[in-house]
Symmetry: C2
C-alpha cells in the first residue's frame, strides 16, 4: 500500500470523510487514490481560501474535522487567512499540504518554499510525514490534535505519497487529549459568581443549546450576567433558546457591557481586548478592579453544578418582524431576514457594517445557528457557508455577505453550484468598505481628504448578479424591501444555490 | 511629522511612487497621509494577491520598485503566492505590511499573528519599523534592498505610523549593494566557452535587448548555445531581436536541450532542476560530465568583453502567421495572436497548457515583452498584466490566461476597469486544469479512474463574459478563429480593459 492510500484509509476509518481541495502535481497520488477509497468525498474549490474556509464551516457544524488538500507553500499561502480564522474559532481541521519529494526539496525548484514556518502560524500541531511507513500513524496523530480543537497540519511529501511500504493502523486508536478539570479555578469561579458582587460569564467557541442552558442557569442562580465573545465560532439562538449578549465589536460598547464588573469568568473565551489599538485609548477592556478567572472550554456544566444552578433558565420568545415594504435599507433588509429565516437555518454572517441590525431582527426567529468572522480576516463567510452546507445537507444555509468581503473568496459560488449546495447568499451591497470610513475617524486620522476614495467600491459598481451567473449560480437583484422579500421567499423555496444582490444606500 | 508621512515622503523622494493596496484599520494613517503626498499613486485592489502580483508586474517593466500596502498577517497571506512568484523573478518590491501598535501586539487580538515568520519565506530583507524616528531610515534600507533585486518587507506598526517624531532623510542617500564582479568565475566561463567543447549560456531574470545582443555575440564568437530559464522574469523578443531558446517546462525536453553539453554558464539563472520530482526520474537536469559556472546576474557584457565577442548577432526575422479562420483550437488561437500582436506590446503569459503554440506564433511579431509565471504559483498573470499596464500606460498589454489560473485572481479585472488600464485579457477556456491530466500520467498514478473529475471545470461552465462584465470590463465570447480575430482587432483598437472568452476544445 502506498502512503496516499494509507492516509485516505486512516482518515475515513477515523471519521474524516470530506476533503476540500485544489490539488496540483505533488498531490496526484492522493487524487488517484481517491478511486479506491470512495468513502472520502473530495470537494473541488477554485481557490485554496475557499477550501480552508469550507473546512472551517464544516468543522464548526459537524463537530469533527474535514481535511484540506493544498498544493505546496503557495497553496497554503492562499488558504492562510481562513486558517487564521479557523484557528481563532478552534475548529478541528486536518490540514494536508502536499510537498515536493524529500530528495527534491534541497534543489530549490521553483515551487519550493518553507512550508513549516508558514504553517506554524495557524497550526497547533504540525508534522512532515516523510516516510510511507509513518503516514498512517502521523495521520492519526493529526486527527487527534485536530479533535482537541484546532488546525493540525500534516505535510505530505510526494514520495511518501507514491511509495509502497505504508500500512493502516487500527481504527479507534485515537487518544484525544483533554486538559484536566481545573478544580481550583472552578472553585474560585463559583465563589466569585456567588459573592453577590457584579460578575459575568464570558462564553466562547461553539455555543450549543446545552452550553447556553447551563450558562443561563448559572445566571439565574447567581445573578451573574452572561456574555459571549464578539465572534463565537457557532451560536445556537432564536425562539426557545436562552439569549446571550455578544460583546460589542467597538471597544466602547464592550467597555459599557462590562462596566462595574468585579469578576469575569472565562469559559472557552479569552480576556477581551480591543480589535485594534487607537491612539490614547486602552487596548485591554476588562475594567479596573475586575478579576479574571479562566476555567477553560467545556466547563460550563461543571460550573453550573458547583453553584447548584438547577432553575429553569429564561428563554427567548418567538417574535418576528413584519415583512418590510418600501425602501431597501440596512433595517428593512434585516427585517426581511428576520421575517423569513427558516427553522434550522445556518447563518454565515459576514455582513459587517451593513449587517448591524440583522442580529436583533432574528433574535426571536425559529431556532438557528449563527457562524461568525472569528479571526477578523475577511473573505471567510462564503467559504464557511459552503462547508456548513456540505456538513448539513438537510438544512438551509443563509450566507450574509458584505460586498467588499464577498470579492475575497467569491469563487465559493462555483463550488456551491458544482455540489448543488442549498445556500442562499445575500450581498449587502453598499459599494463601500464602509467599516473603514468609520475606522478612519476612530483612529484620529484626518477625514477631510480623499482617503475615502480607497474605500469606495462604486467605480465601477460590482454586478453580483452577473458574477454569480458567471459561476452557474441563480441570481437576482433587489432594489426595494419588497424585492428582497419576494426574492428570499423564492430562494428559500427552491433547493440549490442562489444569490440576491441587495442594493443598499451607498457607503452605509 | 508622523511616521506615515515620513514613509510616504521617503518613498516618493526615492522613486517609489506607486502603491498597490487593500488597506485596513491598522493602515488608516498611511491612507490619510496620501492626501499630503499626491506624488504617490495608490491603486486599490479587491484582494491582496492582485496587489502583490501587480507590484511584480510593475517592477519587471519599470525596473524600479512599487510599494504594496497590506493589512496584517492575513493580508500578507493573501498576497503570499504572488510574492513567491516575485521572489523567483527577483523583482524589486517594497512590501509594506501594517501591524498592530507595538503595545497591542502581546495582547493576541483576533488579527494578531506572526508576520515576520510568514514574510521571511518570500523576503530577502525584512524589518519592523517600531518607532517613528526610525521609519524613514528603514524605508531607505528597504528601497535599497529591493533595488538589489527582490522583495524587501517593511512591517509598520500602527503607532509608528500615527506618532509624531519622524523626519525624512535626504534623497539620494541610497546605497544599493551589488556584488563585486567574480573575476575568477568570469575567467573560467570564458575559457569554457572558448574551449571548443559543447557549451551553453543559461540566462535568467530580465532579458532586455542589450543582454540578448551580448549573449548572441558570445554565441557567435564561441559557438556556444544560448538558452534562458523556462520562466524568465521578462524577455524582449520578436522581429529584429536575437532569439533565445527557453528551457522546456517538461524535464525530458530540457534534458534534450542540454544533451551533450560539457559547460553550462549561468548568467542570472540557477542550475536547472525539474519542476517536480517523478518516481524513478532524476530531478537534476544538468547532464553528467557538464560543469556549471555561475557568473551571477548582470555579467553578460563583461563576459562578452572577455571572449572578444564583437560580431553582429543573428536576429529574428519579421514573420507573422496569416489570420486564422475556421475552428478555434490552441493552434488557431495562437495564430490569431501572432497575426495581430502590436509593436511594443507587453504579454503576460499564464496560458499554461493551452498556450503551447503562442510563443512560436509570435516569434517573428514586432518587438514586444514577454512576462512569465516565474514561481509556478498560479494566479499571477492577471495581476502582473495589471501592474505592467500601470507602469507602461502607453503600451498595449495582452494578458493570456488559462481558465483555472484566471479564477485565482480574477479580481484584477476590477482594478483594470477602475484605473482604465489598456489590458486585453484572452481566456484560454478549455474547461479544465489540463496540465494535471498530463501530470497524472507523468507521476505514474492510475489514469483509468475518476481522478480527472477533480481537474474538470465544466460543471458548471465558467462564463467569463458575465464575470468580466460583473466587474465593469467589456467582454465577448469567441467560438471560432474568425471570432477571435475580429474580437482581438476591436479590443486592440479601443483603449481600456477588455476580455475575450476564447472557447477551446475541452480538456486540451
Amino acid at each position: 500500500m502506498n502512503g496516499a492510500h494509507a492516509l485516505l484509509r486512516t482518515l475515513v476509518a477515523n471519521g474524516v470523510d470530506t476533503c476540500f481541495t485544489n490539488p496540483g502535481t505533488s498531490e496526484m497520488h492522493f487524487v488517484a487514490a481517491l478511486d479506491d477509497v470512495p468513502e472520502m468525498r473530495a470537494v473541488l474549490t477554485l481557490f485554496e481560501g475557499v477550501a480552508t474556509g469550507a473546512a472551517d464551516g464544516y468543522g464548526r457544524m459537524a463537530g469533527r474535522p474535514a481535511a484540506t488538500l493544498l498544493h505546496l507553500g503557495p497553496g497554503l499561502g492562499n488558504g492562510l487567512a481562513n486558517l487564521h480564522n479557523a484557528r481563532r474559532a478552534r475548529t478541528p481541521i486536518v490540514n494536508i499540504i502536499g510537498d515536493h519529494a524529500v530528495a527534491h526539496q534541497p534543489l530549490d525548484a521553483p515551487l519550493q518554499s518553507d512550508i513549516e514556518s508558514v504553517a506554524r502560524n495557524v497550526s497547533q500541531w504540525i508534522r512532515s510525514s516523510n516516510a510511507p511507513a509513518d503516514v498512517a500513524r502521523d495521520a492519526l496523530d493529526a486527527i487527534a490534535a485536530a479533535r482537541a480543537g484546532g488546525v493540525a497540519t500534516l505535510i505530505l511529501p510526494a514520495d511518501a505519497s507514491w511509495s509502497e511500504g505504508a500500512q493502516t493502523v487500527p481504527a479507534g486508536s485515537i487518544a484525544v487529549r483533554t486538559a484536566p478539570v481545573p478544580a481550583e479555578a472552578l472553585d474560585l469561579a463559583a465563589k466569585a459568581l456567588q459573592s453577590g458582587e457584579p460578575a459575568a460569564l464570558l462564553l466562547g467557541g461553539v455555543l450549543d443549546e446545552a452550553t447556553l442552558v447551563a450558562a443561563a442557569r448559572v445566571a439565574a442562580a447567581t445573578g451573574a450576567k452572561v456574555l459571549c465573545e464578539t465572534f463565537p465560532a457557532r451560536l445556537e439562538r432564536g425562539a426557545g433558546l436562552p439569549a446571550v449578549e455578544r460583546l460589542g465589536y467597538l471597544a466602547e460598547f464592550a467597555v459599557a457591557q462590562m462596566d462595574g464588573l468585579r469578576h469575569l469568568v472565562l469559559v472557552g473565551a479569552r480576556a477581551p481586548v480591543s480589535f485594534f489599538a487607537y491612539p490614547g485609548k486602552p487596548s485591554e477592556l476588562v475594567p479596573d478592579g475586575c478579576d479574571v478567572i479562566d476555567v477553560g472550554p467545556g466547563r460550563i456544566a461543571a460550573l453550573a453544578k458547583s453553584v447548584h444552578a438547577d432553575a429553569e433558565p429564561a428563554r427567548a420568545s418567538a417574535a418576528r418582524p413584519d415583512r418590510p415594504t418600501g425602501a431597501l435599507t440596512a433595517q428593512s433588509l434585516a427585517a426581511a431576514i428576520g421575517a423569513l429565516l427558516p427553522e434550522g437555518a445556518i447563518v454565515s454572517d459576514e455582513a459587517n457594517t451593513a449587517g448591524l441590525f440583522v442580529a436583533g431582527a432574528t433574535a426571536g426567529a425559529p431556532p438557528h445557528d449563527w457562524l461568525t468572522l472569528t479571526g477578523g480576516a475577511i473573505g471567510q463567510g462564503m467559504p464557511v457557508a459552503t462547508g456548513a452546507a456540505v456538513a448539513c445537507p438537510d438544512r438551509k444555509v443563509l450566507s450574509l455577505e458584505a460586498d467588499g468581503s464577498a470579492m475575497y473568496t467569491l469563487q465559493s459560488l462555483w463550488t456551491q453550484a458544482r455540489e448543488g449546495l442549498d445556500v442562499t447568499t445575500i450581498i449587502f451591497n453598499n459599494r463601500s468598505y464602509a467599516i473603514l470610513n468609520l475606522e478612519l475617524s476612530r483612529v484620529g486620522a484626518r477625514t477631510d481628504g480623499h482617503a475615502a476614495e480607497l474605500f469606495d467600491l462604486s467605480r465601477p459598481p460590482l454586478d453580483f448578479v452577473a458574477l454569480a451567473r458567471g459561476m452557474g449560480v441563480d441570481a437576482e437583484r433587489a432594489e426595494t424591501a419588497d424585492d428582497v422579500v419576494r426574492a428570499l421567499e423564492r430562494c428559500l423555496a427552491e433547493p440549490g444555490p442562489h444569490l440576491i444582490d441587495a442594493i443598499l444606500p451607498p457607503g452605509l
